[in-house]
């Protein structure tokens, strides 16, 4: 793309579509700034912060949306050089509000390009609206396997790694460490059951063994109290006692009910991995490799807090749209969908490689971070895990095993 700045201020950008017409003759010079509006649809969900086990855990109101806002301003840095201006239109459906109605209004008015900060059920409500059939929905939030399997949709593209990618990322590291005997402790929710099933799947894939399993459904009393640790100190050793030996505890507790109580409270002196302890994710505020430091600093300047995984999801969603518009000239949802699934598409996400979508389920393939709250421990795929196509396809549902068939 060739762009020339017209003499004058920064705003005066003129596209050099100079097929025969010279810039000097085309007077007065028209500032050919095209605008593109990005829609972010989010919903407020009930959240009881009192159940968070740690006082240090917070739940920022701008979680996710700040990532999209930061990315929009980045697009405009590029856009001002080549004649594009982006705006972010954020629609928030209140708790208990009618998501379908809000989505209908959006689809009736707008171009049908929507970033969704929605949980799985609401995402499907949006995706299954007749008016959304030819829309593009960028899912910046969910990690549900089901949405990449039997519940996948052609109009939905997933940005964050799903549960099976997360357990595979941890599994590769554990196998590399030769910590291959796992004690699985599973929480009470349906999501925990999926995550635990993924742990078993990962074990089978990578030659590890689940040597013990337990379901932890007792309410650990994860709330504010004066002497809470004393009871936890006796509860957790009981919960983690197993008849045989194991190398790690692999915990499946997606809602943070008890997992954070496990480290240093286990019966045997073994590390904790999974949804707590060593955690797999797309992003953490501590990650700084592959120039992520610059991203973290920009985000902190903008939002005055660390960048979390959902912020990264919102950031990437906007950057993906920006690529489609500025690189491919794709401004309609169908043109964008085609571009995102083409070999021309890739997006940079501070992972040292371009990120692309799997064509069979519209999942973004990506390296996955393994982190503790303060440090990045490793990144998967691990060295030595090979794949004939993309090494990152060793994480999650690969084409031969997918239950979603959106195409090749």
């Amino acid at each position: 793309m060739i762009v020339r700045r017209a003499p004058g201020g920064f705003g005066l950008l003129a596209l050099a579509v100079l097929a025969g017409v010279s810039l000097a003759l085309a007077a007065p010079v028209q500032a050919a700034v095209r605008s593109f509006s990005i829609t972010l649809l989010r919903k407020t969900y009930h959240f009881n912060k009192e159940v968070l086990p740690s006082l240090l855990e917070t739940h920022p109101a701008d979680l996710g949306v700040s990532g999209s806002e930061e990315a929009t301003s980045e697009l405009n840095t590029a856009g001002k050089f080549i004649g594009w201006h982006f705006t972010l239109n954020v629609i928030t459906v209140p708790e208990g509000g009618n998501l379908a109605a809000a989505a209908q209004r959006l689809l009736a008015r707008g171009p049908g390009i929507i970033i969704a900060d929605l949980k799985a059920n609401d995402l499907l409500t949006l995706a299954d609206l007749p008016a959304a059939r030819n829309a593009l929905i960028l899912d910046m939030r969910t990690i549900d396997d089901s949405l990449r399997q039997r519940q996948c949709r052609a109009n939905v593209f997933h940005i964050l790694p799903n549960q099976a990618m997360l357990t595979d990322a941890l599994a590769q590291y554990l196998v590399w460490k030769r910590w291959s005997r796992w004690f699985v402790i599973q929480g009470p929710t349906a999501g925990d059951a999926v995550y635990a099933a993924d742990i078993r799947r990962s074990a089978a894939r990578y030659g590890a063994r689940v040597v013990a399993e337990k379901t932890y459904s007792y309410n650990p009393g994860s709330r504010r109290s004066d002497t809470g640790y004393q009871q936890i100190q006796t509860q957790m050793p009981l919960a983690t006692e197993a008849s045989g030996d194991y190398d790690v505890i692999f915990v499946a507790d997606e809602t943070d009910l008890f997992g954070d109580y496990l480290p240093y409270n286990t019966y045997a002196a073994r590390p904790v991995v999974g949804t707590q302890g060593l955690v797999a994710s797309a992003w953490t505020p501590a990650y700084q490799e592959y120039a992520a430091l610059q991203m973290q600093q920009r985000f902190d300047l903008f939002a005055h807090r660390g960048m979390r995984e959902r912020d990264y999801g919102g950031w990437l969603a906007v950057r993906i749209i920006g690529n489609a518009v500025m690189r491919a000239g794709a401004t309609s949802p169908l043109a964008m969908r085609k571009y995102l699934r083409s070999k021309d598409f890739l997006v940079a996400g501070y992972k040292g490689q371009g990120l692309t979508f799997r064509r069979w389920d519209n999942q973004l393939r990506q390296p996955v971070l393994l982190s503790t709250p303060l440090m990045t421990v490793s990144m998967s795929p691990q060295h030595g895990f090979l794949h004939p196509g993309y090494t990152t396809d060793t994480l999650g549902f690969d084409e031969p095993e997918t239950k979603c068939h959106l195409g090749h």
Binding site: M1, I2, R4, A78, F81, L346, G354
Partner: protein, 329 residues
């Protein structure tokens, strides 16, 4: 100029005598200056024997490193200290610090050496500094995460590439205006003019390509791709680019592919991949262009490539996370 072995350096105080002496002897080793991002040092190696001559402490996070055109100084960007360390190439000591504005990543100089161009990574700026006074002359807004800088031979054009905006920005040094912005493949790292100034090559690390740009029309003429048997495409991350003096051959460092590509600069055909250390980014020629030095960030060493045979002949340890290299003849 004196030959700078260990004893030679001490004797450098007796400069006039040695100047005569060295002319008489006629031989003096060149020196390689390698910035070590994690160690906060610059390693100095003898350019013939590759013996370590000195380890120079710098300010924090040294990355971009550049020899002044008169070869008297080596300038290092200290990203986390917002300044440039000026190393005296004779005494191998930091003799001056120049403020640059926040997070300088790389630098280049005007052909005469009167101006320093710095890319301020966190602030999306290029800062222009008067080298004699150390004063900032101009700050020019560019794309996000600006990195590699290229200065045309006549000095009238400075090109900076922005990693997150993925553009090559052309700056006119008479007006300090950005006159063209060219969208290239994702995450451009380095811009390099061909020796005849007719083309500008821009490496795109995440895109995995090198764009060949006409600097007059600002058009992309060609995009070079790399295919290495047994190496996944996503590991191919082109960064450093250098041309042989005859302009016929380009060497391109490929990052996590752990190789340097040899490219025919006329046909753009990739002729060979040379296996080097891990994550090579920056590369530089020896003064006579017989050797190419490849800085390997993850293996803490420099691979020496013999240019005529296009073989890696040796590797030499330096500091931790070595980043850039400058050569004093």
């Amino acid at each position: 100029m004196p030959s700078r072995t260990l004893t030679g350096r001490r004797a450098a105080l007796l400069l006039p005598a040695l100047v005569l002496c060295s002319f008489a002897v006629g031989a003096r080793a060149s020196e390689l200056f390698v910035s070590n991002e994690i160690d906060d040092t610059v390693t100095v190696l003898n350019g013939e024997t590759y013996q370590k001559i000195a380890t120079i402490p710098t300010d924090q996070r040294p990355r971009g490193i550049f020899a002044t055109p008169d070869h008297r100084y080596v300038l290092v960007c200290d990203g986390d200290s917002s300044n440039i360390d000026v190393i005296d190439a004779k005494t191998l000591k930091v003799v001056r610090r120049i403020e640059t504005g926040p997070d300088p990543e790389t630098l280049a100089m005007s052909p005469s050496g009167d101006k320093v161009y710095v890319s301020n990574e966190n602030n999306a700026l290029v800062t222009v500094i008067n080298f004699a006074t150390g004063k900032s002359i101009k700050q020019i807004p560019v794309g996000i995460e600006p990195e590699g800088l290229a200065v045309s031979a006549h000095g009238r054009t400075v090109v900076v590439v922005s990693e997150t905006t993925s553009m090559a920005h052309f700056i006119d040094t008479r007006t300090w205006r950005v006159v063209a912005n060219i969208l290239v493949d994702t995450r451009p790292r380095i811009a390099q003019f061909t020796r005849d100034q007719r083309y500008l090559w821009v490496s795109s690390e995440v895109g995995g390509t090198v764009s060949v740009i006409d600097p007059r029309t600002h058009r992309i003429l060609h995009i070079i791709n790399f295919h290495i048997p047994g190496v996944d495409r996503e590991y191919i991350g082109p960064v450093g680019v250098r041309f042989t003096p005859d302009g016929r051959t380009a060497f391109v460092a490929l990052g996590r592919a752990n190789r340097v590509a040899v490219v025919d600069a006329k046909t753009y055909k990739v002729e060979k991949y040379i296996l080097v250390g891990q994550r090579p980014w920056q590369i530089a020629f020896s003064p006579g262009h017989k050797r190419l030095f490849v800085v390997n960030g993850l293996t803490n060493d420099v691979t020496i490539i013999d240019v005529s045979s296009e073989e890696a002949v040796r590797s030499v340890p330096v500091g931790r996370l070595p980043w850039g290299i400058a050569v004093i003849p």
